[in-house]
């Protein structure tokens, strides 16, 4: 059976620069949770950007297949509508745009792609209420402009709330745990655990074992210097705590 996501020998760079990803291979099946760890500057956020087709990046070799089809030519917005979701390491502010309004536009864009009718305001609010109970999110955040003036932790929570609303097939969480206090980390992790689903794959980028105590991954990978240099199961992360990355980088 083909996996939900198959990345093969992926090389990519920021247009005009040198390769940042230098031959990534990764396969993620539906229902699985993968953790990606690795030193700063290794290329983890770059990988998530390339998977989401952020404009300005060039794939110079290799392939990405999603749901059994090569998606090289699929633009960012179409990938999003087809179920690829990225929780940003640094969510951007969009002044003047109401968070709820934005989310509704997004939900409806994705529903349209699936051939479902738009949600009207009251149906949408019902869904919001339901998903809000999954996560401990203040409805005050929903009345404000997208990410404007949100604290670091509030931004991360808002990302996971969006994930809950959009129900993606593949969710890539880029350092969602960074900047969260202890209670928020627990709340967000609980939320993500509730979103685990046999039809959904989750790829989490993190620097901390602590997150993996809450959200137990099926696989742990180390990305260093643009390549996946080692992989293992969840116990592998504990080993890394002790040994660090240096020996893996050297070996690779």
């Amino acid at each position: 059976m083909t996996k939900l996501l198959e990345v093969e020998n992926l090389h990519a760079r920021i247009a005009g620069g040198r390769d940042i990803l230098k031959g990534i291979s990764l396969s993620v099946g539906a229902g699985e949770v993968h953790a990606i760890m690795g030193p700063n500057g290794a290329g983890k956020s770059t990988l998530s950007a390339v998977l989401a087709a952020k404009p300005g990046y060039d794939v110079t070799a290799g392939s990405i297949s999603y749901g059994g089809a090569d998606i090289a030519d699929m633009a960012a917005d179409e990938r999003a509508r087809k179920g690829i979701f990225l929780a940003f390491q640094y969510p951007v502010e969009i002044p003047g745009v109401n968070n709820t309004y934005f989310l509704r536009a997004s939900v409806n864009a994705i529903r349209r792609e699936r051939g479902e009718p738009d949600l009207d305001a009251s149906q949408f609010l019902k869904l919001v209420k339901k998903k809000m109970s999954l996560l401990d999110i203040k409805d005050d955040l929903l009345k404000r402009a997208v990410n404007v003036g949100f604290s670091g932790g509030e931004k991360k929570r808002n990302e996971i709330f969006q994930m809950a609303m959009l129900e993606p097939k593949l969710a890539i969480l880029d350092e969602t745990d960074s900047g969260l206090d202890i209670d928020a980390l627990r709340a967000v992790s609980d939320g993500v655990n509730k979103l685990r689903d046999p039809n959904r794959a989750i790829v989490m980028i993190t620097h901390y074992q602590r997150l993996l105590d809450y959200i137990e991954p099926d696989f742990v990978h180390v990305l260093a210097n643009g390549r996946i240099v080692a992989s293992g199961d969840k116990s592998f992360a504990r080993e890394l705590e002790k040994t660090g990355y240096a020996h893996l980088e050297r070996a690779a």
Partner: protein, 484 residues
Amino acid sequence: MSAHLETIGEIASGSGDRYKYGFVTDIESDTAPPGLSEDTVRFISAKKQEPKWLLEWRLKAYRRWQNMKQPDWGKLNIAPIDYQGATYYSAPKTAEGPKSLDEVDPEILKVYEKLGIPLGERAALAGVAVDAVFDSVSVATTFRSTLAAQGIIFCSFGEAVREHPELVQKYLGTVVPRGDNFFSTLNSAVFSDGSFAYIPPGVRCPMELSTYFRINQAKSGQFERTLLIADEGAYVSYLEGCTAPRRDENQLHAAVVELVALAGAEIKYSTVQNWYPGDANGAGGIYNFVTKRGICRGDGSKISWTQVETGSAITWKYPSCILEGDNSVGEFYSVAVTANHQQADTGTKMIHLGRNSKSTIISKGISAGHGQNTYRGAVKIMPGADGARNYTQCDSLLIGKTCGAHAIPYIDTRSPSARVEHEATASTISDEQLFYCLQRGLTPEESVSIIVNGFCKEVLKELPMEFAVEAQKLLVVSLEGSVG
């Protein structure tokens, strides 16, 4: 959603050309021969059966105008205007004299319906009375009797001259003097029609008053004159909308608007300007050279201008407030879009005379394509305006690399206790913002539209609800094709 908006929505979302109001209507018109002379002025005045004092007023303006020069201080590139080649009066043949709705030419009613402004009172926007100006004349005014019951006068300017000469004579030219500037003086000489409203003391006008301007005739200018008076303690909210057919030559629109707010009165004046902007290469389009000014004559009076300027080849206007009364308030909220080859030089003047007078200026300029967008604003605090305050915020958004945005604030403070604050920002739509929207499934067009509407939020929220929705759609349509 009202019928009006649905129609506009359909027009706005239709495919093809981005200017959806560019159709021409074939209607028999009564048109003055091209050219401008004292005879033209007499012709117009006679057509409108005006009293002698008004003819004299026009002639004085005309004589003064002959010795004036078209100004060139705007940051604008204006092709020479052939004042002798234009037509200064054009009226649908069937529109002579005041009309009740069932007498209006069905062809004209159809035009307004197509524009999304049904004039039949049953079909009309609930709570909005409309004065429809077609080329040089007002063709219909709705809800007159409802308004009259409260003593509110809302009619065409021509009718006001006939029916309420004492009010017109008392206020005409008191805010924008007859010979104020080149274009307003030309207007004083040849103005054709426009709207007039008077709200009696203590009356809160129960519905939005609105004028819808339509230029149809080729080679004709439009020179309407609007005069609104809110007597002591009165309140009125007024809106104007404008469209014109798609034509290859530039057409001049030189209107004058005068607002008078007496003690404790409030006037809220909103404009959604969507004159034909010219084609993608900059051919054709309206020259929108308009003089708008209000005076807060009494204590505690307030005038608020809101404008959304998406159309016209060139927009050159500064809706201003003279804050004469103590504790009077002036506001200016503006969104100006210049896409393709459009140019705008717009802003406001706040002249503080009264003690503790207060003004707020929020200007949002959006430039795309080869558009050039200049904010020009003056804040003057005169001696004696103790405790006066102004806050100005002036933001520009640039889309693409070939457009321009400029801010030219003039500040002149002659009272030591005055406080003037000015903030300005210039930004582009960032790649990060765009990607964030795309990653949430929005198309590139939807993404830009959401970011642009967010940028304009503070201004759009000042518009009456129904018109805010229309304005949002217009913003999107006028920027179509500018991104990507």
